[in-house]
């Protein structure tokens, strides 16, 4: 494998340690052959990008995740889902145990906002439900659930959830921190 060429300098490791929520040991654990793109050499952490299908294969948690497409899009620099090594590191850092609640809520909002309009509207909720259920929920059921969600969470009555409303809902959920978590 071509990864024998890959070493990280002390400075780079320190940079990573400062900018993510990982400790040094955890970062070194990240640099395992199945996560690092094959042709990556020195100083190409940023430029070599791995397309979505390959990323999803590398991380088993992402493979089974119904929102994998969306997650990759959010964390990629071009918005299309192609992740560089640093983007993958960033993804794992946000999902780690040490990341604070605010960062997780922010990224969760971005993930669930499928059309990127800064609000979680009825279409976004619909897509989320379709992805979440492998068994089909009938459209009427989906409609009803979506109405209930909007009714519960919408404060200003515009029919969709803005970031504040989403944050308000999520901070009251005791399980959010434990479910929004990938162990590396």
């Amino acid at each position: 494998m071509g990864n024998k060429l890959l070493t990280f300098t002390e400075q780079q490791l320190e940079n990573y340690q400062d900018c993510t929520f990982f400790t040094r040991k955890e970062i070194l654990r990240e640099i395992r052959p199945d996560l690092v793109p094959k042709r990556m050499r020195q100083n190409e952490q940023v430029t070599i990008r791995v397309p979505l299908e390959d990323v999803v294969e590398k991380l088993p948690e992402l493979r089974e995740n119904p929102f994998k497409q969306r997650i990759c899009e959010v964390f990629s620099r071009d918005g299309k889902g192609n992740l560089s090594f640093e983007d993958i590191l960033d993804l794992l850092s946000v999902f780690s145990e040490q990341a604070p609640r605010d960062i997780k809520v922010y990224y969760a909002f971005k993930i669930y906002d499928f059309d990127n309009d800064r609000h979680i509207g009825t279409e976004d909720l619909d897509s989320a439900l379709v992805l979440l259920m492998r068994q089909e929920l009938s459209p009427e059921d989906r409609q009803q659930i979506i109405e209930k969600v909007i009714e519960e969470a919408d404060v200003d009555g515009d029919g969709k959830l803005s970031f504040m409303e989403f944050e308000h809902v999520i901070t009251r959920a005791p399980d959010f921190l434990s479910t929004f978590h990938i162990r590396i």
Partner: protein, 745 residues
């Protein structure tokens, strides 16, 4: 006549590369999309917006940046294509750095502000590449702007202490125990979900704590005693012979070893000349300090857990639907089977919720309600009676166990059978009690099982403390009893239940039913809590007990892990781990509190045995403190403490604490009302906004699109990189707006 031309929005210029075509241009977003990042529109902000609408596209220099290469790992075809330019990164990073520079405290050249910068960087919701860019720019600008003032000696000292402390904390974090058994925990989490994993995390935490206690007590108590025993000057031989069953019963041979309190000497150990080790003082202080440390660690964890799951979330689960959708998926699941189960469990939960909506609110007739309540009350009384009976039987057994060998076996057997059987009994009883909520059923069963364990431990302690007078070396006998219980519990709950589980598995397999069952998290956690309670009861009189319990937990880990992997399937219903974790921690905390209180009473008011142990020349154990500190009994501080711990003083303290709790609770309730009021204000503000936009629309007759996304207020650090457009970097001036608006005035 001046007419504003409808320019195509500047942010969809033709000379952009393909990657940005999927950004939704501003004008096509609905005018009604309100952005809470913006404030209520004022005239000048409207001016800025409309100016930005007409802003020309700035041509950009893309040539200098190297485009990104996307490499596909698939062998079939190596496709490489280019993604968007990196010019955007610089601009975006500059914007963020500008924003960060506004905060003066971040820009100083001191180590403290370096820490602040690191924290600000970590909390920046941007990608790693962006963060590194920002970091390098920040450090450059800081080093440019720094005015190197000579700092005084004390400041330098303070800074160096700060830095070394935070480095120490960071290195501790590097070394934290999260590494222990990490691989197997990840595997279980991936295959079975975070419910089972929470049990294993709890087990691991307790294991580490017990390991620490075991190390300290072995090192500071057992080893010196062993040194003394083996030294030439003090050859004592064990008067009892070793018998295999002594391992299980714990008496006989073991009574005169370092296992129990009775063997510890009350003298100075001076094997190496001029290096004396005061055994009684060491015994007393090590045990007391370890108890206090465990108490503090537990108290801190309970408080943190309570705060996280109850206070920050207001204790309520009102948004059931939203929670199921947004927090329903467990992101740690890594196998297809678990994912399938998870999605079907979410499906069933949602379906259940929907069907509950359809049903009318249960209007039970009075008779049904009355009947249910009576049943619940009767069952609770019945359970209390059962618990009292268990206590009485334990008492009788303890009395009888001094009268013979078989009796000793019988006691331990009976107690362990009770502990194994009764929880399942409680579980079945509570299923028939028709509580409204399955969570309440769970909590009630947990509470009853916990009370069972508490009653048993309590009677054992009470028996020994009351009958201490007549016995020779009662501490050793009590410790032997506890040791016996631990070993028998190991045999029953680990060995026997594994055999039973495997038997069930094979049986169901041959009966052609689904062989894999669910892992009963509640039962196993309560088992560990009972174990821990036993440890704390016995530790004061047997310094080797933590090592035994640590070993037992080690074995339990591997046995349970094997069981879960081979014999169990993922849970059908989601196990709400967070709240039950808090309950478990609270139970453990209450245990240690009660046990410490009882031991405190024993140290103070129960006479030590005069023939054995490190305190045999004292009447009461606490006297070691008073005789070591001279004139303590005349000392003011001692007298104050003695008076405060009298019943009157304690009652006063309790009342004061009660008043404090009441005050805090009223404070919390007032805050809740304030939150409600503020929510209503928000709704009214949104309505105001709609009204104003409507008015604006009417006035300008729809010709200027009041897109309310105020770029001045958009936080550049909160935009995704591929959304970063020129508007954020554009500037606006008011004259143009006024020029255009003049025609309407």
């Amino acid at each position: 006549m001046y007419r504003p031309t409808h320019r195509t929005p500047a942010y969809q210029p033709q000379n952009r590369m393909a990657a940005y075509e999927n950004t939704i241009p501003m004008s096509e977003r609905s005018a009604q999309s309100f952005d809470y990042f913006a404030s209520v529109p004022t005239v000048s902000s409207l001016a800025q917006r409309s100016r930005s609408l007409g802003h020309e596209a700035r041509s950009r220099d893309y040539g200098s940046e190297r485009p990104n290469l996307v490499v596909s790992g698939m062998k079939k075809f190596t496709k490489a294509y280019f993604t968007g330019p990196r010019g955007n990164l610089d601009l975006h990073a500059n914007k963020i750095v500008e924003k960060l520079e506004e905060d003066k405290s971040l820009m100083e050249d001191t180590p403290v502000s370096e820490q602040l910068r690191k924290e600000a960087l970590k909390n920046l919701p941007q990608g790693l590449t962006m963060k590194r860019c920002v970091k390098s720019k920040l450090t450059k600008s800081v080093s440019q702007k720094s005015k190197r003032k000579p700092i005084g000696f004390w400041k330098r000292l303070k800074y160096s202490i700060n830095i070394s402390f935070s480095k120490f904390v960071a290195s501790l974090k590097n070394f934290n125990y999260f590494e222990l058994w990490h691989g197997s925990l990840k595997d279980i989490e991936g295959r079975f979900g975070s419910g089972y994993a929470s049990y294993f995390k709890f087990l691991r935490w307790l294991f580490v704590m017990n390991f620490g206690v075991a190390l300290l007590s072995l090192g500071l108590l057992v080893v010196p005693q062993i040194i003394l025993d083996t030294s030439a000057s003090n050859k004592t031989t064990n008067t009892q012979s070793f018998n295999f069953r002594n391992i299980f019963i714990g008496d006989g041979f073991f009574i005169e070893t370092v296992f129990y309190y009775g063997h510890y000497t009350n003298q100075f150990i001076e094997v190496i000349p001029h290096l004396s080790f005061d055994m009684p003082a060491s015994y007393f202080s090590v045990t007391v300090i370890l108890y206090v440390l465990s108490f503090v660690v537990l108290a801190v964890s309970v408080a943190e857990s309570y705060r996280r799951t109850f206070i920050e979330t207001e204790g309520g689960l009102q948004n059931v639907y939203a929670n199921r959708i947004f927090c329903g998926w467990d992101y740690g699941i890594a196998t297809k089977e678990a994912a399938q189960l998870k999605s079907s469990s979410i499906y069933y939960e949602l379906k259940e919720l929907l069907s509950e909506e359809l049903k009318d609110v249960e209007d039970w007739s009075c008779l049904v309600k009355f009947w249910t309540y009576t049943i619940q009350v009767v069952v609770n009384i019945l359970v209390l009676v059962i618990l009292a009976a268990v206590g009485w039987m334990t008492w009788v057994l303890m009395k009888k166990s001094n009268e013979g060998e078989i009796a000793v076996y019988i006691t331990a057997l009976v107690i362990n059978i009770i502990i194994m059987v009764f929880p399942s009994l409680f579980y079945y009883i509570s299923k028939h009690e028709d509580y409204k909520n399955p969570r309440i059923t769970l909590y009630i069963t947990l509470g009853r099982t916990y009370l069972l364990g508490a009653v048993i431990l309590g009677t054992i302690l009470a028996f020994w403390l009351i009958h201490a007078e007549g016995k020779n070396c009662w501490e050793t006998l009590l410790a032997a009893e506890v040791y016996r219980l631990i070993i028998f519990d190991f045999l029953f709950s680990v060995v026997l239940s594994v055999i039973v589980d495997v038997g069930y598995f094979i049986g169901r397999y041959f009966l052609n039913r689904e062989p894999k069952t669910e892992f009963n998290i509640a039962k196993h956690t309560l088992q560990i809590i009972y174990n821990q309670g036993l440890l704390w009861v016995g530790f004061l009189y047997s310094p080797i007990l933590p090592a035994v319990v640590t070993l037992k937990m080690f074995i339990i880990w591997y046995v349970n892990q094997g069981c879960v992997r081979k014999l169990c399937r993922p849970p059908k219903r989601t196990w709400r781990a967070a709240q039950t974790q808090t309950w478990f921690m609270m139970m453990i905390f209450v245990s240690i509190l009660l046990i410490i209180a009882t031991h405190g009473y024993a140290l103070k008011s129960v006479r030590t045995s005069q023939t054995c142990g490190p305190f045999k020349h004292y009447n009461y154990t606490y006297e070691i403190v008073t005789t070591h500190i001279e004139d303590l009994e005349q000392d003011l501080a001692w007298r104050v403490i003695m008076n405060v711990t009298k019943p009157g003083g304690l009652a006063f303290i309790m009342i004061a604490l009660g008043i404090l709790v009441y005050y805090l609770r009223e404070h919390a309730l007032a805050n809740r009302d304030k939150v409600k009021m503020l929510k209503e204000t928000l709704v009214w503000l949104a309505k105001d906004k709609k009204f104003l936009v409507q008015m604006y629309n009417d006035v300008t007759k729809g010709e200027i699109n009041p897109h309310l996304r105020d770029n001045r207020f958009v936080d550049p650090s909160r935009i995704l990189p591929h959304e970063f457009t020129e508007d954020v970097s554009s500037s606006v001036d008011e004259d143009d707006f006024h020029a255009r608006f003049k025609k309407y005035s």
